[in-house]
């Protein structure tokens, strides 16, 4: 079994151990595979384990390292959210529709990490087609929160967050359409970053809402996220919306110096909707940043309360088209003995998609229908611009914006499943960031009743460095990000 020193080591420390050959990638990989084996029955965080391939890739990484080649990520194990297409490895997107889907190609994110020499251990469970905030919509069963297995891990990157928190991998990937990296990171006590829209290629990521989807790193620290972000960012001509922007070495930008940093606190994020104990934790984190030299400034994001309504028109509208390709004709689930073409469509989609996915397809189809387009889709597009403008004017006077990542801590299974709107409220602080295309991260800010709370930091477009640096400062000054659930005790 992997020892706890290795389990808590940062990417930089692991890299040091690997390059000095004190530990091999193969040993590291085997250690993590054993840990997945030990814990996954309890958590259901991983849906596919690629043990053989991982060990083979680890040996190849070891050869590179022995030759003195490779880079900071070479030989480091990782789990991918099962929304990333992986060549030759089943990619389910948490859905019965893609239960047996094996892509013939890698997502750009996967390919870039592969090229860097990262070792893929397997694929993480997730809400079906990334639609959910609790990981209860997965066809492969709910993921359990390692801090309390009666509670949800958040979603949709809940498998990634839970696996990371439980020490099944030092790095995981996630995607975030409305909060799907930040909210589970918050609920599982890890660091997760949603980059600026366009920073990371969407090619090969199974689409939910194309204008909002963005992939990002999840790790035990801001520094580790920075390493992965550098590796996955940058122009991809295969994604027309990918940005032609220079990619800094995000790790080297972590100076830890935040003196004079102006942090905006939106009044709308600190109102009565926020759990008072969560608020207290978020405030104590902000106080730490203040102590480190930052200035806290009250700001307004006056149209914040429209974010949920706007999001739940636009995202389902795009999803209704993105998910039309799952028709039982070429790939994916097909119903048995269809009577005719219509029956093939109806039953393949009714049987292949879960309830939440069907709900969103219906909502989106409705919002785009003749006679409703202007009232819903068009109006939502307009409000989206207004919400973006709110942020733009706020950034005139502050450098970053801070708030909670989620309105509360992890909640018990079933608590919100019968009430979609209550579930949608989970993303009340994260959705607007996707609508505006901004970078946002969640960093641990202590515990409430033994469950993690997250501080959300929002940056200017393409300024991931500043929010990573602020989170890094917080992680230098506090131990919140080092807190680990006692999951082994449950297993033992």
């Amino acid at each position: 079994m992997i020892d706890s020193a290795l389990l808590n080591a940062s990417v930089s420390e692991l890299h040091q151990l690997l390059t000095t050959r004190q530990v091999s990638s193969a040993e590291l990989t085997k250690g993590y595979l054993e840990r997945i084996d030990l814990l996954n029955g309890k958590l259901n965080a991983v849906v596919t384990v690629c043990a053989e391939q991982a060990i083979e890739d680890a040996s190849r990484a070891d050869e590179r390292l022995t030759r003195g080649e490779g880079n900071i990520l070479t030989g480091i194990p990782l789990l991918h959210k099962d929304i990333f297409c992986t060549q030759g490895v089943t990619t389910t997107c948490g859905s019965r529709m893609l239960e047996h889907f094996v892509p013939a190609y890698d997502a750009t994110v996967v390919a870039r990490l592969k090229a860097a020499g990262v070792v893929m251990l397997g694929k993480c469970n997730m809400d079906e087609f990334a639609m959910g905030s609790s990981n209860e919509t997965s066809f492969f069963g709910a993921v359990k929160n390692p801090w309390d297995t009666n509670c949800v891990p958040g979603g949709s990157s809940g498998g990634s967050a839970a696996a990371l928190a439980a020490g099944m991998a030092p790095l995981v990937t996630g995607t975030d359409t409305g909060g799907s990296i930040r909210q589970p990171a918050s609920l599982c006590g890890v660091t997760g970053l949603k980059p600026t829209y366009g920073r990371v290629s969407r090619l090969g990521i199974i689409a939910f809402a194309s204008s909002l989807d963005q992939a990002g790193p999840m790790a035990r620290s801001a520094a580790d996220c920075a390493h992965m972000l550098t590796a996955i960012s940058g122009l991809d001509t295969g994604d027309s919306t990918s940005a032609d922007r220079a990619v800094p070495d995000f790790f080297s930008e972590l100076t830890g110096d935040i003196s004079g940093l102006r942090i905006g606190m939106p009044r709308e994020y600190f109102n009565d909707d926020l759990d008072s104990e969560v608020r207290a934790q978020v405030m104590s984190a902000l106080t730490e940043l203040e102590k480190a030299g930052a200035q806290l400034v009250d700001i307004d994001l006056p149209h914040s309360h429209y974010a949920i309504a706007t999001y739940y028109v636009l995202a389902p509208a795009e999803a209704s088209a993105n998910l039309a390709r799952y028709d039982g004709v070429r790939f994916g689930y097909r119903c048995t003995d269809p009577a005719d073409l219509e029956d093939l469509y109806f039953r393949s989609r009714s049987e292949g998609f879960g309830e939440e996915v069907q709900r969103r397809i219906l909502v989106g189809t409705y919002a785009l229908s003749a006679g409703f387009y202007d009232a819903y889709f068009n109006k939502a597009q307009q409000v989206r611009r207004v919400i973006s403008d709110d942020f733009r004017s706020a950034f005139q006077s502050v450098d970053i914006i801070a708030g909670p990542s989620a309105p509360g801590v992890a909640f018990p299974f079933g608590a919100k499943q019968q009430d979609p709107v209550a579930m949608y409220m989970e993303d009340i602080y994260t959705l607007a960031v996707n609508l505006a295309g901004l970078p946002g991260l969640s960093t641990p800010a202590g515990l409430v009743n033994g469950m993690p709370v997250g501080l959300q930091l929002i940056g200017k477009p393409f300024d991931e460095s500043t929010i990573l640096n602020a989170a890094h400062r917080l992680q230098l000054d506090t131990d919140w990000h080092r807190a680990r659930p006692a999951i082994e005790d449950h297993v033992a």
Binding site: A104, A207, T237, T241, A324, R330, F331
Partner: protein, 483 residues
């Protein structure tokens, strides 16, 4: 009741780009099913479209070719509907902001006048695949080779009043796009497909009647026939007091009738919305200017130039110009032979006839422009009579060599030598005393006719080599001196 026919046309034009509009797959026609469909064309999860710049340039070329306004910022939209040959469940098209906006296309009609047709818009979109129903016994097959082929959908205002105008427009459009090099315009292979919107109204009325749309007509002849049948059908209904149902119809060429395909009332709600996977196409003036500079001479300008530069008649010019290759062939022959009018006559006459019989295009002509020019040179310098020239043409078609080689090999040189001609004339006259007697007994008008017999005999004797002009003069003189 006298009805006025009102029609608008929508043409789906396949653009001749090497690869598809949103993927790197080949667009070659006729490959085995599904070999030219990659993960993007198959709509595989996670795949994204990347716009082919060549398709944009072709669309802009078209817009400039008809003098239309180019949309400076055009946007792709998703058109949502389910169909087995539509892999993504939506077609990427342009609904709200097309790349080519309003313009006027001047269509030359058969009487030489110009018919202005208003173009509403032309937009880029991807083609769907094909469902195949005749390969498997219990199931349908799907061929996605065509899926993602770039199309330009060209929409007109309801400016057509009869089938002739519609066909003239389609022919002019075909000519234009082949000149621009943006499409092969091959209707049989589906490179140009036409939807016809037809309605009738009382003559003199300004309001439009209810229309029917005839989908996917794929030849000029079928367009003409489909229009005639549909106009008859609608007139019959209206004459008997009925009303026209707005619907989509198909033209069945075998039965020569249009029939209902589906009613618009139950038609899909396409739920168009902007395609989030693609950025807007931004086109600036510099780009437009560069494309404009690259445009070739277009049919209208070429027609005018052939008339002024080569002194061709309007009629010949109108026949030569629509086929870009024929016009180029003509100019080459005219340049090499220095004889434009005979060049036009030979191309439009014997060469076109021979090509049609052999079912060849002018690009595949066994007689090159250089070879045909060589023949014309020998006619112009008097070496060949027109009769001999036809024999040489035959030889050229059979690839027997150059004109001069064929003349030598077949011994086809025209004989103008007075002594030789006189001998042939004398021989024939003395060999045919009865015909000579008839000739001498006849009056002036009859004599003219009877002399033809002698000419024919002499041509036969000379194997066609006698110079017809000199022969004729000599013969008449000799005959008239016989009495």
């Amino acid at each position: 009741m006298t009805w006025e026919v009102v029609m608008g046309l929508e043409v789906h034009l396949q653009l001749a780009t090497r690869s598809k509009i949103f993927s790197g797959s080949s667009t070659q026609f006729g490959a085995s099913p599904n070999v030219q469909a990659d993960a993007v064309d198959l709509g595989m999860p996670g795949m994204l479209p990347v716009l082919n710049e060549e398709a944009v340039r072709f669309a802009v070329k078209f817009g400039l070719g008809i003098g239309a306004r180019i949309g400076k910022r055009s946007i792709f939209d998703r058109k949502n509907y389910f169909y087995p040959d539509l892999p993504k469940g939506y077609q990427i098209s342009q609904f709200f902001d097309p790349i080519v906006c309003e313009g006027v296309f001047e269509v030359p009609s058969s009487d030489g006048s110009l018919l202005p047709i208003r173009i509403t818009r032309a937009h880029l979109e991807e083609d769907a695949g094909k469902s195949v129903h005749d390969i498997f016994s219990q199931e349908s097959g799907i061929d996605l080779n065509r899926a993602g082929t770039p199309l330009l959908e060209i929409v007109t205002e309801p400016d057509f009043r009869n089938a002739d105008q519609a066909v003239a427009y389609l022919k002019a459009l075909h000519s234009l796009v082949t000149y621009l090099g943006i499409s092969d315009g091959n209707m049989a292979e589906g490179s140009m497909r036409c939807d016809i919107n037809i309605s009738l109204r009382e003559k003199g009325s300004e309001t439009l009647g209810t229309r029917a749309e005839i989908k996917n007509v794929n030849s000029f002849r079928f367009v003409e026939r489909a229009i005639h049948r549909e106009v008859e059908r609608q007139a019959d209904i209206l004459d008997s007091g009925g009303t026209i149902t707005q619907e989509t119809r198909l033209y069945d060429a075998e039965r020569d009738e249009t029939r209902s395909m589906r009613s618009k009332e139950v038609a899909n709600d396409y739920r168009y919305f902007p395609e989030p996977d693609l950025l807007p196409i931004e086109i600036d003036q510099a780009y437009i200017d560069a494309v404009r500079d690259s445009l070739p001479e277009l049919p209208a300008a070429k027609r005018a130039r052939l008339v002024s530069e080569y002194q061709l008649g309007e009629y010949d010019a109108a026949l030569l110009v629509p086929d870009h290759a024929a016009a180029a062939f003509f100019e080459e022959v005219a340049r090499l032979s220095g004889a434009a009018k005979p060049a036009a006559n030979w191309i439009l006459g014997d060469l076109t006839g021979a090509l049609n019989r052999a079912d060849l295009t002018i690009e595949a002509s066994p007689i090159s422009a250089e070879a045909l020019a060589g023949l014309i040179v020998r006619i112009e310098d008097g070496t060949l009579s027109s009769k001999l020239a036809k024999q040489v043409f035959e030889g050229l078609w059979q690839a027997e060599g150059t004109t001069d080689e064929i003349i030598a090999a077949r011994g086809l040189k025209q004989v103008s030598d007075a002594g030789e001609l006189e001998k042939w004339v004398d021989d024939v006259i003395s060999a045919n005393p009865n015909q000579l007697a008839q000739y001498l007994a006849a009056d002036e008008t009859k004599r003219k006719k009877l002399s033809g017999f002698f000419v024919g005999q002499i041509m036969k004797a000379s194997q066609g080599q006698a110079n017809p002009k000199l022969l004729n003069e000599l013969l008449i003189k000799k005959l008239n001196n016989q009495s």
